[in-house]
């Protein structure tokens, strides 16, 4: 198949000025069951400023070359968690990955995140991921019979205890980088454990026991093989593997 090429869109008269644009090849895994049962690779050549995001490159393709290219995105700055994808073999957010940081000399490969059913191009079925999240009871549970009239007190130290895991944006980069999850989709996966951790270690919460029991399950925290893929993949810099280890330790000692 011929490679579609996007012409430069520089303003006229700026030809002599040093152009920031370089030519980059995006090699994208395409799949559309309305067209074919087989997934294929397709190359696109675009002109892009290396300081731009991979998401900007995908938009250039979608907006100017092939409107059928399909991916999720929203905020475009790493907060909403929509655009996790496998870029050069590594899970990243397309909106948080700059072209210059991933060697634009070679084709940039872009695939959907692994372990979830691909629905079209880079769009996967997120339902199993969110189901695992819902299964760990990701909400504050308290034994209070009477709600306090003011806020519950919490010391800055107690608040700090679970700060890292509150950063999670549910992008699924960690869970879909995990070899255990690839081999067995029943595994809760790192993101669900991170969100359980966020409540297990919250001094205001009274349901740690229940959550630990859920994660003690055969598909729970013991499946983790400590490969650190999740920590590497997290676009929010959460120490995911450490959080999982803390949950394991809590299960052994049952002391929080």
């Amino acid at each position: 198949m011929a490679t579609p090429v996007l012409e430069k869109t520089e303003p006229a008269g700026s030809a002599s000025a040093a152009s920031p644009y370089i030519t980059v090849t995006f090699r994208i895994r395409r799949f559309n069951p309305e067209v074919s049962a087989e997934a294929t690779w397709q190359d696109f050549q675009i002109e892009i400023d290396p300081k731009e995001r991979v998401l900007d490159g995908l938009h250039k393709i979608k907006w100017d070359l092939d409107g059928s290219l399909t991916f999720r995105r929203s905020c475009a700055h790493g907060i909403c968690g929509s655009d996790a994808m496998r870029i050069n073999g590594k899970n990243r957010l397309a909106c948080k990955t700059l072209i210059k940081d991933i060697n634009p000399e070679k084709p940039i490969t872009i695939e959907p995140i692994k372990g979830l059913t691909v629905l079209k191009d880079l769009v996967v079925d997120m339902e199993p991921f969110f189901q695992a999240y819902r299964d760990v009871m990701p909400f504050l549970i308290t034994k209070d019979t009477n709600e306090p009239t003011r806020e519950r007190l919490q010391s800055p130290e107690d608040r700090e205890r679970f700060d890292d895991t509150t950063k999670c944006i549910l992008c699924a980069a960690c869970t879909t980088s995990c070899p255990v999850f690839w081999n067995d989709g029943q595994y809760f996966g790192p993101a669900a454990i991170v969100n359980a951790h966020r409540f297990i270690f919250d001094s205001r919460d009274d349901a740690a026991e229940q959550r630990l029991e859920i994660l003690n399950d055969k598909d729970g925290v013991w499946r983790c093989r400590t490969t650190f893929n999740c920590t590497d993949a997290c676009p929010r810099g959460i120490e995911v593997t450490k959080a999982i280890a803390e949950v394991k330790r809590a299960l052994i000692t049952r002391r929080l």
Partner: protein, 584 residues
């Protein structure tokens, strides 16, 4: 086509939608239709905090908060609504804490509070610590906490369902909401949701600007859907430009950065805000700071080879303070600009941020068909709505507050209405408009492209109806938008499929943006004064005699099918505070 029946349908799953859902689900059979997965909503991008006069760290009260809100909005705020906002702020924050929100804490374990632009002690005497916060990711925490509580309550979500039309049926001469028409992204199927109550909580429309802090998905779908059905839009000329967006990208850098001591500097290193706001300096209200930045740029004191930005300087602040209080925005500077904020200033420019205007509602969240008539069964809350608590300029930290206070109110009111109302009959073929729209786009052989028209729209909006406006520039925008609307009729898409057809949805979203951009420009043209976020260089003063009134824009269709916008006006509700000159 599938037909569903619910008591209450909520459109949108950001802060306002989910806060409404938590109330409505307790009281009625509720469905939430959302074009994004709930945790993807742009509430999550809010950073600085949520205002409430808890008085946890110093003396404060709701009356001072009300005054600041009214003054911040340049007296276009409806004062009864502002009073409700400030009073109910306290319980709103406590509600979130009880739901589990991890606020930063004082040494005593109370919710910590910090300063923010425009919030003051005793009617402007000095800054006050009123913003309840969680580092610089307060919106993220609110969105997560509300979603967690929706999971806890078993709220029923329809994810990636785009609401494309509002169904209104006239019963005995009264326009009533009968439900909505939605498009399922995964399958391309059309769904009719019959509902006794519909709540719009679908967010803003900032994507008609080029440099904006808004998500790609903020395309004003809710405003456009009801406007097309004869509901007016209020105060659409008032749009907030946040002073500190990342240069060219528009990504938000919180006002909290200046609250922590950050300083704006021009190319000479001068702290230029001292000239424009001698008392509040860098913490003057957002409209004032944005105008000052552009004045520096226009007068040749901008930074960089093209002189098109200024600097946000944090280099004098201790790295520990930046790490603890501003971790996310310092990371944005590193990621997107390759700049280390410990040692280098950050290039910034004002960024289109927030629509003060929207679907007019009363303080119960009920949508208004004109200045006084409620549309039974129709509600709106959050940025999509105009209550009006923000008037001509919203104060920082009042939007996270707005979604919680009025999301809750709308959720309760809609569910209670549903419990005593009957379903309204559907018109003959309720899906006709949506079916025709989709088929026209899918089968179009036109030569215009969505991306080209959108780019031209964004460029004309940035050039002509941004921080500075004149009759000339606004007219240029109005003419350009009219041309683009004409060309839009000839737009074609490449993806003709049914499955996850985001090409199709982007085309529909562009149609919404064009409609709303036109309302904004036409409303701005008629407001011949300067107030809050609307600054007319040809009318640089506020004119309370002629313009102390809300704009109400209506879509009119002539006998020959031609569309036009008719402007009317609505009085401002004034209770305690007489308009004064606004100084910071």
């Amino acid at each position: 086509m599938k037909i569903h029946k619910y008591d209450t349908v909520i459109v949108g799953a950001g802060g306002a939608g989910m806060r409404a859902a938590i109330e409505a689900t307790k009281r009625s059979r509720t469905a939430v239709l959302t074009k994004l997965y709930p945790t993807r909503s742009h509430t999550g991008a809010a950073q600085g905090g949520m205002a409430a006069a808890l008085a946890n760290v110093e003396e404060d009260n709701w009356e001072w908060h009300t005054f600041d809100t009214v003054k911040g909005g340049d007296y276009l705020v409806d004062q009864d609504a502002a009073e409700i906002l400030a009073k109910e702020a306290i319980d709103s924050v406590l509600d979130l804490e009880k739901m589990g929100l991890p606020f930063n804490r004082t040494p005593d374990g109370l919710i910590d509070q910090r300063r923010f632009g425009g919030h003051s002690r005793n009617h402007g005497e000095a800054p006050v610590r009123r913003s309840c916060y969680a580092a610089d990711r307060t919106g993220h925490m609110i969105l997560q906490t509300l979603y967690q509580n929706c999971v806890k309550q078993g709220v029923e979500f329809f994810n990636e369902f785009y609401v494309l039309d509002q169904i209104i049926t006239e019963v005995d001469g009264v326009k009533k909401s009968a439900g909505v028409v939605a498009y399922e992204l995964a399958t391309g199927e059309i769904h009719i949701f019959r509902a006794k109550s519909v709540i719009y909580a679908s967010g803003g429309c900032g994507k008609f600007f080029k440099v904006t802090s808004n998500a790609h998905t903020l395309t004003g779908d809710g405003q456009a859907a009801v406007f097309r059905r004869g509901i007016p839009l209020e105060d659409m000329e008032f749009f907030q430009f946040h002073p500190t967006g990342i240069w060219r990208m528009g990504i938000l850098l919180t006002e909290g950065a200046r609250g922590e001591g950050g300083i704006l500097r021009n190319k000479d290193g001068e702290r230029f805000m001292e000239k424009y706001a001698p008392v509040m300096k860098d913490l003057a209200s957002r409209d004032v700071v944005s105008r000052s930045i552009y004045t520096e740029i226009r007068e040749g004191r901008g930074c960089g080879p093209e002189g098109d930005h200024v600097y946000l300087d944090l280099t004098h602040l201790p790295p520990e303070q930046l790490d603890a209080k501003l971790p996310d925005i310092t990371e944005f500077a590193r990621t997107y600009l390759g700049i280390e904020p410990y040692t280098d200033p950050i290039p910034i420019q004002p960024t289109a941020h927030y629509a003060m205007g929207g679907i007019p509602t009363n303080v119960m969240g009920e949508v208004l068909a004109d200045n006084t008539t409620v549309v039974p069964g129709l509600y709106a809350a959050g940025e999509v709505a105009c209550v009006s608590v923000h008037g001509a300029n919203r104060l920082g930290t009042n939007s996270l507050l707005d979604i919680n206070v009025f999301g809750k109110r709308a959720g309760i009111a809609a569910a209670e209405y549903a419990s005593q109302a009957d379903f309204v009959e559907l018109p003959g073929d309720p899906e006709a408009f949506v079916v025709e729209q989709i088929e026209r786009l899918r089968s179009s052989t036109g030569t215009e492209r969505v991306a080209t028209i959108r780019r031209e729209l964004q460029e004309t909006m940035d050039a002509n109806v941004m921080v500075f406006r004149t009759e000339q520039t606004i007219k240029t925008a109005v003419e350009k938008i009219a041309e683009l609307k004409q060309r839009y009729k000839n737009v074609a898409i490449q993806d003709k499929g049914k499955r996850f057809n985001t090409d199709l949805l982007e085309a529909i979203e562009l149609g919404n943006l064009l409609d709303l951009a036109e309302v904004m420009a036409v409303s701005a043209l008629a407001r011949k004064e300067s107030r809050g976020g609307h600054y007319r260089e040809d009318y640089p003063n506020r004119d309370d005699v002629n313009f102390m009134r809300h704009t109400m824009a209506y879509r009119e269709v002539g006998a020959d099918g031609t569309e036009s916008i008719r402007l009317d006006y609505k009085p401002v509700v004034q209770t305690r505070y007489q308009p004064m000159e606004r100084k910071y």
